[in-house]
Amino acid sequence: MTWNEFPWFAATSILLWAAGAACALLSKKSFSAGAAWLTATGLCVFAAFIALFWTVLQRPPLRTMGETRLWYSFFLMLAGLLTYCRWHYRWLLSLSTVLTLVFTLMNILKPEIHDQSLMPALQSGWFVPHVTVYIFAYSVMGCAFLLAIAGWMKRTERYRPAIDRLTCIGMAFLTLGMMSGALWAKEAWGYFWGWDPKETWAAATWSLYLIYLHLRLSGKGRTAVLNALLVAGFLCLQMCWYGVNYLPAAQESMHVYS
């Protein structure tokens, strides 16, 4: 199993997800079991590629940007499916599929170099939990962002319960990722927190989502402010994930591995 086989697995998954999204949109009921099953099958195909790729690489596929996009696509669809099963937003699967398609196409059209090497700094027990927890948080926040945009465009507060729940889960995982990273940083570099560019962007993202949660708790946030926070948080999150690599500050970053 190599990167060359990815388009076949990706195309099968995308077709299944698109069929699931269509089922959800066209179904007369608020929840379509067929849509859920099609999406779940697509997830299984995608997961099979990740598992086989992991086995062949002989290391977790989490090092390069392309590999993290692989996990992001997987978790985004998973978060979308779970949200659909819980709140029955029939359009959500379509949005998740489109966003996943974008990330999958990026991987097909611009794959980073994939090799089996894993530099010594990444050979740690913290590597897999830190990265997967973070990518899962990114995906959940991605879903919250989609709902915020939908609520903004439709001028409704109907999606607020789902957004709150997703942000709460995302925040728990974001903090787990950040704190596991701090413990790992102490082991690897001697400091829990070093204001490295990636850490700084992570702190900015974390603060924005924390403001959202506290405004919701105190009940003082206006809808526009709440949605703006979710959008700003999502943009910061993208900066933290890959945008930071394009800044001059990235030259001094300890988080450059590829």
């Binding site: 090799d115 089996q116 090497s117 894993l118 530099m119 010594p120 700094a121 050979q123 740690s124 507060e157 109907r158 607020r160 319960p161 709150d164 729940r165 709460c168 889960i169 925040m171 728990a172 995982f173 903090t175 787990l176 704190m179 596991s180 701090a182 413990l183 102490k186 082991e187 690897a188 570099w189 001697g190 400091y191 829990f192 927190w193 204001w195 560019p197 700084t200 962007w201 702190a203 900015a204 603060s207 924005l208 403001i211 949660l213 506290h214 405004l215 919701r216 708790l217 105190s218 009940g219 003082k220 809808t223 910061c236 900066m239 930071v244 800044l247 001059p248 500050a249 030259q251 001094e252």
Partner: protein
């Protein structure tokens, strides 16, 4: 109304921070080394406790415990991080960050007092998250003046005690280090797969250093392997000595915060938000 009033108060506070940043020389980090930092923390912990007990409705108590203060301080933290993130040379050791982190610490402490010692839903989670954050922040912020790092080039020829600060100042360490052997293996593409240094500590004790596996020289000091001579048989390596006496406070805080986040995921929304959610699902306003 309350928000506007508090924005004014915090604007004055951060106006002073900005003036200090612009007019005063660099922040005197060394001045706050132990015992000044410990005395400051003790003063804050006792002072805020007394303030909350004796004057629970005073303007300062209400300002420090207010949810509006949470939003204002977090917004300032986010904005400061964005400024740091966009510049190529971040400098968190500044007057601005001193004022910001002091305000965050005092606010978090007051919120912790308000929430931890009263019956409330998910009290354990509240204590773990806010207490953990408080300790992690405290260990990092107050511990910085007591933190130091030195680097030593350690060779095979003779033992060395000479270490260098990041500003290239020389110091003589109480311990000596000598490189006995250095193992390095490579992937086929030339990337190092693994490397480790076998060292002789004080000419008597054998120790091994590798990436992600520091050696505890003392309860406060740890040795890290940071670099080596990139040739087939390296003759020297670079060892970093980090002194961080507050690491226990910070580490304990981080573990509490991790436990709190597991509970946040397992227990779901904070009670206030869950109530609002039910209201929206019934068709009401948030």
């Amino acid at each position: 109304m309350e928000m506007k009033k508090y924005i004014t108060v915090w604007s004055v506070y951060f106006g002073v921070a900005l003036l200090c940043q612009l007019l005063l020389p660099a922040f005197p980090t060394a001045f706050f080394a132990f015992p000044v930092n410990a005395a400051g923390i003790l003063l804050a912990v006792v002072g805020l406790w007394v303030l909350r007990k004796e004057k629970p409705t005073s303007p300062v108590t209400r300002l420090l415990a207010s949810p509006s203060t949470t939003s204002i301080l977090l917004a300032l933290l986010a904005a400061s991080c964005l400024c740091l993130g966009l510049t190529s040379r971040p400098s968190p050791s500044s007057w601005w960050f001193f004022f910001l982190l002091t305000a965050l610490f005092l606010h978090l402490l007051m919120v912790f007092y308000a929430g931890a010692f009263h019956k409330r839903p998910h009290r354990l989670r509240f204590i773990l998250i806010h207490g953990g954050l408080l300790l992690a922040l405290l260990g990092g912020f107050a511990g910085t003046p007591d933190t130091a790092e030195w680097r030593l080039p350690v060779g095979k020829e003779w033992p060395t005690r000479q270490a260098y600060t990041p500003q290239y100042g020389k110091i003589r360490l109480p311990h000596s280090l000598q490189l006995k052997d250095f193992d390095v293996t490579y992937y086929a593409n030339g990337m190092p797969q693994n490397f480790q240094a076998h060292l002789l500590l004080d000419s008597t004790k054998d120790i091994t250093l590798s990436v992600n596996h520091p050696y505890a020289l003392s309860p406060n000091d740890d040795l890290y392997l940071v670099d080596y001579e990139h040739v087939a048989e390296p003759r020297f390596c670079i060892v970093q000595l980090v002194r961080q006496p507050w690491k226990y406070v910070q580490s304990f805080g981080i573990w509490l915060l991790l436990a709190g986040c597991v509970l946040l995921f397992a227990q779901g929304l904070p009670t206030g938000m869950a109530r609002k959610e039910k209201k929206i699902e019934k068709g009401g306003q948030p």
